[in-house]
């Protein structure tokens, strides 16, 4: 069975600083997809970034980037120049393809300190 583990229940970062959220996963698939979703207090889940396992290059989206280590089954999210609006729950998720059910971790609550 696929599992996703987020070992940091809570993290905090000073505004304008950089923070890294950790995620590890377990799968027997060789091709799969990994995602980071953000869930602000309003509850709407928003996609932050996605990574296809067959791509060696780490995905980036503006201030957000990932460190994908396939052999270690690790998928961390780096947020640069943190902003107050980045405060939210962050969920790491996995799926065998982009169009199959997602398996989520338990989430990391990120606080941004002004």
């Amino acid at each position: 069975a696929q599992t996703v583990t987020q070992s940091q229940p809570e993290m905090s970062v000073q505004e304008a600083e950089t923070v890294t959220l950790s995620c590890t996963y377990d799968t027997s698939e060789s091709d799969y997809y990994l995602f980071w979703y953000k869930q602000p207090p309003s509850r709407q889940m928003i996609l932050v970034i996605r990574q296809e396992a067959y791509k060696q290059q780490n995905a980036t989206e503006n201030r957000f980037s990932v460190n994908f280590q396939k052999a270690a089954k690790s998928f961390s999210l780096k947020i640069s120049d943190s902003q107050l609006g980045d405060a939210a729950m962050y969920f790491c998720a996995h799926s065998p393809s982009g169009n199959t059910p997602l398996v989520f971790g338990k989430g990391t609550r990120l606080s941004v300190i002004a």
């Binding site: 509850r43 709407q44 982009g98």
Partner: protein, 114 residues
Amino acid sequence: GAGVSQSPRYKVAKRGQDVALRCDPISGHVSLFWYQQALGQGPEFLTYFQNEAQLDKSGLPSDRFFAERPEGSVSTLKIQRTQQEDSAVYLCASSEGWNTDTQYFGPGTRLTVL
């Protein structure tokens, strides 16, 4: 364009009552997913549809849970004889239906069973 919408946003039910939760996916999206999110946890898969076909319902916790999507658009998640452990946020997501697609989430319905 409009995103995924869900109604009601909040539902309070007395134990033993039946409830129906509605999801309107993004227009034209073929795939529709239901997830259950308990307080402080990551979402967990319940069931999903491709058009009107229910492809996987392995995540439904009991036979009290039933989902349908009769015309391949709007979906309803029905919970019969609600119990306190059914209290959670129910999230709906839709995607275009291709392998590489991203799932877009609605705001969720918070169900409280008293």
